[in-house]
């Protein structure tokens, strides 16, 4: 208590959040008087009395934690108005997880209505219209997905659109998508209903209460200081909405909640006579706009392609009233013109008001949920990007489950807060990025979307050379990685020898055969038949060591494979959670008795560290260091790599001295200390060289120079993707997630049940081994697909077996060796009653498979093991390695 008070003097800036329902406009008094005294102790403190905080409180109460939950709100809960909220509830989201969360929200509101709680829910359906062929393709793909995601929807013609909503101009439309189950709710009513229901079950709600500081001891939440006193607690939930980033800064260490506000507009008309109350929600994404009926008026808004950041200096207004900004009609005009175009009669409608209610967006346009990597038991649910009520129900439930059960049935890694690095929370980065983020919400999302702001942020030391060599870049975790190399363009565009090439950003502006196809084909063939060189520097690299062999015990506990391998050995292993799912998928090289180097996916940089950190011995005997930024990773792959490397090093590279799946610290050229691994991550023969940064350019130049006679080519990660998809290699974050077990993805051979440490997830995996798996990772080769003219699979396509939808693809790519489209994905086995049955080899191998691409089904041949790719240069030693296979193979 004293501790808290002392700090208050230092940090007396008072803050708390709500998701910003407050406004000066009309004030509705909460239905019941609120508690005025803060309890001294609680299990959970929720910050923010907006709809998000209310939903978390509601679900905690549902799970029986009502009595030990406190919700604090800086102003009034839900406080007031709908002027700057749209109330749209749409179920179709870009990914299954988000769809599940949105569906859960709708279910909640319906059930609340059933219990007599007001939500303003109106199931008026929603109608998305397409102005372009590509947008129609998006809807066709959504329609195809809807079978797998269990969403009722139908494609409609312009004539049918006119019937569904006679107000619309349809002459320029290709068609649309009608989702009858969508609707609108009243965020304010929903918030109050959730709160009152939570209070009935014991949740304390304290208004006019601001969070001043969040405390932790030993990295775990221990309490919060508010302007009404200190509350000791075990869990803290930051539902600060618009203010979440600021609240994140009220702890030591800071919790990164990367959000930046930008102006956001809501147009309200006066009463429009004869307006059908059941007018569907209209989304004209090509015009960046939406409409809805709102008590006899129309409400319209949009997501302009170039947004206008608000509060750029980082000084977020302290109250909801100050959050409302004067309207910039010139900025809004882009949207107004589109609105008038789509809804011509809107021109005669009289303006009630245009509200500029700035909204906070995350740098990747996704929600931010989950446990903060910085502090245990600190949860965040924020960044709902104006569609708070679509998300609130589901995210609230998932967050409550995480708190009460330690896990949620929703796999949320793609929206998990641990996806961010420090750079993502940089204010200037956010300010630059937020200009293009809202536009994405309605943007036409082609495959492999790339941001155009916040680029050239993390670059490997050989980046300038790669750029000169024609690299077209993609960005992952702020890291610039070559997607492919346009060598011809390089020659054509280079006027003089000295002039450098401009920075170019990767693009795939089609759902069919992309422009980069031929470049990637060449890179692919170099990797398979000659030598390809790739920059793997973005990979997460972690050193783990201890004085004695504590590190071995720790890793044995964390990993499902047996990591007690000989020194210089390398092993692939998963790190499972209690349910057997992949928290991390990595390679471990044993540098010494007590020292390992871990290589993990780029996107795991923050996430896997926080997972490992939580399981390290508390005595500090095992040390973990992130060395990602210390080493440049250059991968050379292809049949001649051994010859190439032997020219540059004295180390004996023969199989007896430097066998496959081993590691050596070698000299390359004039450099030393290069950590060389005899493996690649895509199944080709080759080496990954982890070069100390200061040697990187030297080693790179040596490789390029010596590689000339082997016709060495640069290869980008689109080629890598093609290689690994064809070889049936699963990648974490794309194929594997926290709900996938090794047994489901052909990796049970990497699980060592018999090792003498009871590793995390062993119990669950043993049980699964007994009972059989309920989903299985397969590879599908499309048979009658013409890659020149047909639309390509890009992931997310439904898989049919014997005419019945059994799964969905994860990653896909063109197999340049098989000359076929390859799809990777998971299948399940439902019996006639819709009950899940174990998936056996017989089941997966026996059916007739089809993949549905935007409404067209293509025959497919199935594999459950990594295939052997024919090559002119077979390698006896390494040729037999297959990443995906069953235990017996």
């Amino acid at each position: 208590m004293n501790f808290g008070n002392k700090l208050r003097c230092v940090k007396n800036r008072c803050f708390s959040g709500s998701s910003g329902l407050l406004s000066s406009n009309y004030h509705v008094t909460p239905c019941t008087p609120m508690l005025s005294q803060v309890p001294k102790k609680a299990r959970v403190v929720i910050c923010g009395g907006g709809v998000m905080g209310a939903a978390v409180a509601y679900h905690l109460a549902e799970l029986g934690w009502g009595e030990s939950t406190v919700l604090v709100e800086q102003g009034r809960c839900g406080g007031g108005t709908t002027w700057h909220l749209s109330g749209l509830v749409g179920v179709f989201k870009p990914t299954l997880t988000q769809v599940k969360l949105a569906k859960s929200s709708i279910q909640l509101y319906k059930s609340m209505e059933g219990k007599g709680l007001k939500t303003g829910w109106k199931e008026c359906g929603s109608l998305c219209v397409a102005r372009t062929r590509d947008r129609m393709t998006v809807y066709r793909r959504m329609k195809a997905q809807s079978v797998a995601w269990d969403i009722e929807c139908s494609l409609v013609t312009p004539e049918e659109i006119k019937e569904l909503c006679p107000l619309l101009e349809v002459s320029d439309l290709y068609g649309g998508l009608w989702i009858p189950g969508d609707g609108v709710g009243d965020p304010f009513q929903i918030c109050l209903s959730l709160i009152s229901s939570a209070k009935e079950r014991g949740v304390s709600v304290i208004e006019d209460c601001s969070i001043l500081q969040v405390f932790n001891s030993n990295g775990k939440v221990s309490g919060v200081e508010t302007n009404q006193g200190y509350i000791e607690c075990d869990y803290f939930v930051n539902c600060g909405g618009f203010w979440a980033r600021k609240i994140g800064k009220m702890s030591e260490p800071f919790v990164k909640v990367p959000l930046h506000a930008c102006e956001h507009y809501y147009l309200h008309t006066k009463q429009i006579p004869g307006l059908d109350p059941m007018t569907p929600v209209i989304r004209d994404q090509d015009g960046h706009i939406y409409f809805r009926e709102n008590e006899g008026r129309l409400m319209a808004g949009g997501f302009e392609p170039v947004a206008k950041p608000a509060f750029e200096d980082g000084n977020i207004p302290e109250t909801s009233e100050k959050r409302i900004l004067p309207e910039d009609w010139d900025h809004f005009h882009v949207l107004l013109e589109q609105m008038l175009h789509r809804l011509p009669s809107l021109g005669d409608a009289v303006l009630e008001r245009l509200c500029n209610g700035p909204e906070a967006f995350s740098p990747d346009c996704k929600w931010i949920v989950g446990e903060a990597p910085e502090i245990q038991n600190y949860f965040v649910a924020a960044g709902m990007k104006t569609i708070g009520i679509s998300a609130a129900g589901g995210v609230g439930r998932a967050t409550a489950e995480l708190i009460v059960n330690g896990y949620s049935l929703y796999d949320m890694y793609e929206i998990d807060i641990s996806r961010f690095l420090g750079l993502h929370n940089n204010r200037k980065f956010l300010r630059d990025r937020v200009r293009e983020v809202p536009g994405l919400h309605y943007g036409l999302m082609y495959p492999f979307y790339e941001f155009h702001t916040g680029r050239n942020l993390r670059m490997s030391p050989i980046y300038p050379k790669l750029k000169e060599s024609g690299a077209i870049f993609g960005q992952v975790m702020g890291y610039e990685r070559p997607a492919w190399f346009e060598v011809n363009a390089q020659e054509a565009q280079r006027p003089t020898e000295n002039k450098s090439l401009p920075f170019r950003i990767a693009h795939t502006n089609t759902f069919g055969k992309p422009d980069w196809f031929d470049y990637v084909a060449e890179e692919y063939s170099a990797c398979r038949e000659k030598i390809g060189l790739s920059d793997y520097s973005s990979f997460t690299k972690i050193d783990l060591w201890s004085k004695k062999t504590e590190v071995v015990d720790t890793l044995q506990y964390l990993c499902s494979n047996d990591v007690d391998i000989p020194i210089e050995g390398i092993i692939h292993t998963g790190m499972q959670n209690e349910r057997g799912g992949y928290e991390n998928d990595c390679s471990l090289a044993r540098l010494a008795e007590n020292h390992y180097m871990m290589i993990a996916p780029t996107i795991q940089q923050n996430r896997c560290k926080s997972w490992i950190q939580r399981h390290l011995p508390s005595d500090g005997s095992v040390v973990m260091t992130d060395i990602t930024s210390m080493y440049t990773a250059i991968c050379v792959m292809g049949p001649f790599t051994k010859q190439l490397l032997s020219e540059l090093t004295d180390t004996d590279l023969s199989p007896s001295s430097f066998p496959f799946f081993t590691f050596k610290e070698i000299d390359v050229g004039l450099a030393n200390g290069v950590r060389a691994m005899n493996l690649t991550h895509t199944g080709e023969l080759g080496y990954v060289l982890y070069v100390p940064n200061e040697f990187a350019l030297h080693v790179y130049s040596c490789l390029i120079e010596a590689g000339k006679k082997y016709e060495l080519k640069h290869a980008g990660y689109y080629a890598m993707r093609a290689l690994r998809v064809e070889r049936f290699y699963a990648f974490w974050g794309q194929d594997l997630d926290t709900t996938t077990t090794p047994l489901e993805c052909g990796r049970s051979w990497r699980v060592k049940f018999d090792k003498d440490i009871d590793f995390i997830g062993r119990k669950a995996l043993l049980k699964q081994r007994e009972e059989g798996v309920h989903r299985m990772y397969i590879q599908l080769l499309l048979q009658d697909h013409d890659h020149e003219i047909d639309l390509w699979p890009w992931g997310g396509e439904p898989i049919y077996r014997n005419g019945k939808q059994v799964g969905i693809t994860t990653t896909t790519g063109y197999g340049f060796t098989f000359k076929k489209q390859i799809c990777l994905g998971f299948v399940q086995n439902f019996d006639e009653n819709g009950q899940l049955q174990p998936v056996t080899h017989d089941f997966t191998l026996s059916g007739d498979y089809e993949v549905d691409i935007a409404g067209l089904r293509y025959q497919a041949k199935v594999n459950i093991h990594s295939p052997n790719l024919p090559t002119q240069y077979p390698d006896k030693e390494r040729g037999a390695y297959r990443a995906t296979r069953d235990a017996s193979a």
């Binding site: 147009l267 008309t269 009609w329 021109g347 009289v350 303006l351």
Partner: protein, 511 residues
Amino acid sequence: MAVRFKFKQLIADKCLKHCSLNGQEYNEHRLLGFIRCQFSIVPSSQFFHKTFTVCGSYRYFSSSSRQNALAKLTPQEVTNILRENEYTQEFNFPSSVKSYDSNQLASNNPIEDARTEARGLLTTGILLGVFDGHGGAACAQVTAKRLFDYITVCMLPPDLLNKYLESLETNQSLKLLEMYNDKIDLLADLKEKYLETFKKFVKELSEMKSNSLDFQMKEVMEKAFLRLDQDLSLEALEKTDGKIDIKTLSVAMSGAVACVAHIDGPHLHVASVGDCQCVLGVLSDVNTWTAKKLTKEHNTENVSEVNRILREHPLNERETVIKSDRLLGQLAPLRALGDFRYKWSKEIMNQVVKPVFGENAIAPNYYTPPYLTACPDVVHHRLTPRDKFLVIASDGLWDLVSPLQVVRLVGEHMSGKVTLNPFRLPRNNMTLSEINTMLLQRKEGLKRKPIDTNAATHLIRNALGGTEYGLDHGKLSQLLSMPDEVVRLFRDDITVTVIYFDSEYLRHCPV
């Protein structure tokens, strides 16, 4: 083509801009919705001798009848009026200042604003000043003429100072400054008088030895302002043949606010007395313009200034020392040069001022003078490559446009674009198509190119004629064709100086 004010005789008129005299009381009110109202009195020709060189027939000078006076001007006539006093100076030597644009538009007749720009010949750096006179043009003109000399000698190192003093005494005066666009000349006898005073000052300086090699700009400015002010007083009270010189007394009875910038490499010092303003145009790293105000006006909105004055006078004057937002209920700026009606002791007022100007010249509740000081606030700013320009202007401009608007106007002008006022709905209950039509009109307006190449003219034109859709010729024409008697109700004298910085120079300039 120019209306040139040649002062054969420099005498103040009786009109005191910020004061209420002759029992006339005017409340602040708004006319045409924009400008602060202050009354104007037709200058008294008895004291004032002027020559206008009027080319063409500007109807705005005619005051015969209102109908005539408000007659429309053609766009070309408007442009001619606006450009009459515009001036651009480029600097071709390596310097942080690339060039400056200046312009003036008179409202009072003659104009009560003055401006000076000069380059130091014995010192480094450039001096630019805007002076806004009240109670006549005399003080502003004299100050504009003399202040830079005072500032410059305060900067001279001892050896140069002695050399300069020597040259003064042998009448082969070394030139201190190179003046630009200097169109005003003082009367010969005044000139002589001023030179004598100045010599005295230089002599004192050289004896004081306080002029060392590393002077502090803040002290230099304060010393120069206060000394000049003191000299104005002494000159006014000096008797030749037992008689007060009415000319110097008139200078002392009028007043002036001033804002002077000294720019030397990356160092910008701004000294300000009164309510002129100086704003720096800064281009942020995301290419948006921000305005950095370098002055804080000395008026009743400046809380610390009000507190200062209240502190300096006894408690029983609390109600009278600042009244109706004015010093002693009369003077709007709370600091000024000249204006000795608020500085001199009661005895001097009774002995010297009353006989000439009458009882009313002494302000009511005049108990504990001085009430007014000429001490400037001096700020230092280290210029960065992001600082693109500096605008110094008299309140005639700031009455019409905000600092941010000014910076946006000049910033967009630099890139050849026009700027519109923010759009506000003109009325309630508009339909969306009506709004759309208006917004489309605005879009058209935004495509136009600025008419003026001189940024100061561009500012004046937009300040007077800017609307949400672009420039309104009707508004401009009306404001520029008003008769002398009323024009002061709608706009004050406007003086604008826009100084452009050399970003390349600033990028490479050593600390």
